[in-house]
C-alpha cells in the first residue's frame, strides 16, 4: 500500500498556491504505483491509465480538501480505488449486471480485456498463455465490489476497516465481499491448481 510521504506536503501546499509544476512532481511520483493498483482492479492497461489520469485530476480538484497532516499517498490511493470502481462499473455491460443479479455469471468477460505484458521475467513465465487468461477471466468474474475488496486485501494489505471505509460497507459486508471473491476464484481456478493440491469433481488430482 502507498505509504510515501516526505516532501509531498510541501508540493501540495505549493500546488494549492497555483504552482502546477509542484503538482507535476506529485503526478510523476505516484503515477506508476497507482497504475499497478488500477491494473489489478480493471485488468486492462488502457483502463488503468485512464484511471490514473482521472485520479490525478480528481486529486487536483479536491486538493483543498486534503488535510496536510495526512499522508498524501494514502489519500491519493483512496481516490484511485474509487476511480477504478467507477471504471469497472462503467465497463460492466448492463446485461451482465442483470445476469449477476439473477446469479448467472456465465458471460462476465471484460470486453476490453487485453493481453498481459510480454515482460519475460522468470517469475512470470510460470503463468503464461491459457493459464494466465484463465486467471484474468476469473478476476473479471468478480463484481466490482468483490474485486476491489480482494485487491485491497490481498495485494495492498489493507485492513477490513480500511476497505470498508473505502467501499462504504460495514465490517461484515466487507469481509463477506473478500470471502465471496476468493470463493469465486477457487471455483474457477481450483481445478487448475496442480501438484495434487485440489480435488475436482472427477477426482482428478
Amino acid at each position: 500500500m502507498i505509504r510515501m510521504d516526505g516532501g509531498d506536503a510541501e508540493h501540495v501546499a505549493q500546488a494549492l498556491r497555483g504552482d502546477q509544476d509542484a503538482f507535476r512532481v506529485l503526478v510523476e511520483r505516484h503515477s506508476r504505483t497507482l497504475f499497478r493498483l488500477a491494473f489489478r482492479m480493471t485488468g486492462n492497461e488502457q483502463d488503468a491509465e485512464e484511471v490514473v489520469q482521472e485520479a490525478m485530476l480528481r486529486a487536483y480538484r479536491r486538493l483543498d480538501k486534503f488535510e496536510a497532516r495526512s499522508n498524501f499517498g494514502t489519500w491519493l490511493y483512496r481516490i484511485a480505488v474509487n476511480c477504478s470502481l467507477d471504471m469497472m462499473r462503467k465497463r460492466r455491460p448492463e446485461k451482465a449486471q442483470r445476469q449477476l443479479a439473477k446469479g448467472d455469471e456465465s458471460e462476465m468477460q471484460d470486453p476490453l480485456d487485453t493481453a498481459v505484458s510480454n515482460d519475460p521475467g522468470p517469475d512470470r513465465l510460470m503463468l503464461s498463455g491459457e493459464l494466465g487468461e484463465q486467471v484474468k477471466v476469473a478476476m473479471m468474474q468478480l463484481s466490482p465490489v468483490e474485486r476491489t475488496a480482494f485487491v485491497m486485501r490481498h495485494f495492498e494489505g489493507n485492513s477490513i476497516e480500511e476497505i470498508g471505509e473505502t467501499l462504504g460497507l460495514g465490517a461484515g459486508a466487507t469481509k463477506n465481499s473478500v470471502f465471496r471473491a476468493v470463493q469465486k476464484l477457487r471455483q474457477h481456478l481450483g481445478p487448475l491448481v496442480g501438484h495434487g493440491q485440489a480435488k475436482s469433481a472427477t477426482g482428478e488430482i
Binding site: S31, L57, G168
Partner: protein, 290 residues
Amino acid sequence: MESERIVMKYTGGHLNEEQLLDYRYGDLADAGATGEQTIEQHLHECAQCRTSYEALQGVLAMVEALPVAEPGPHFEARVWNKIAPQLTRPGFDWSKLTAWMSPKNLAICGTVAALIVVAFFAGRISLPQKNVTPGTAQGVENVSARANEPGQVRERILLVAVGDHLDRAQSVLLEISNAETSGVGSKRDQVVDISEQQERAQEMLISNQLYRQTAVHSGNNDVASVLDELEPVLLEIAHSPSKVSSSELEELQRGIESRGLMLKIRVLDSTVRNKEKPATQPQHSATRGS
C-alpha cells in the same frame, strides 16, 4: 472437467472456508475463539483441512503470479500531458457535476427528466381560467381535464414508480428488522438466511440511484434525501453474507433503526401516494399559489 464445487461447511472437527481465509490473512479474531496455534496444529494433524488450505494457497498463488503490466518509460509524462490542459484551479471539482453522467444514467434520467419537464410545462400552459368559479361544474370539469393531460399523467406514472419502489424498500427493511436467528447451539452460533432479501436489495440498488438522481434534478429534495439514506442500507444488505449471524443481523438492524428509516419511508410513501391521485376536486385559490 467440472469445476470444484466449493461448499461452505462446518462439520465437527474441521475448519470452514472462512476460518481458513481468516487464518491466511491473519484475521483470527474475526474467525472466533480458535487461535493461530490451534489452527496450525489442526492443519498439521488433519489431512483434509491441510489439503483444503493448500488448495486455497495454490489459487491465491496463481492470482499473484499474474503479471502486472508495466506502462512504459514515458508513462508519467503521458499522464501529465493528458491532465495538464484540464487543470483549472485546485479545489474546483467539475467531476461532481459529471460523476453521475454515465451513458446509461443519462439515457434513463434523460427520459424521466423529459417527462418531468413536459409535466411542468403542461401545468404552466394549462392555467385555470380566472373567470371560472371553483366548485362549479365548469371548475370541476377544468380540474379533471388538466388531471388527464399527458404531462400530468406522466408525472403520476413517475410517482407511482417511486411509490412502488418505496413499498418494496419497506418490505425488505421490515423483514430484516423483524428477522431472528435460529438453529442449534448458542445464540452466537445461530444464523438467519437473508438471501431472498439480498436479492431484492441488489435489484433495487440501481433503481434507487436513478430515482434519487431524478428527484435531485426535479428539485424534489424530500424524496432525494430519503433515497440517499436508503442506498447504503440496501448496499449493506446486498453485500452481507447470505446467512448472517446474530451479531451481523443486529448490525443490519441497527443501521436501519439509527437512521429512522422505516418511519421516513412510510411518511414519504404516504406523501407520494397522495400526489399520485389526480385532482378531481377544484382547489381553493388560497392553496393554489403554494
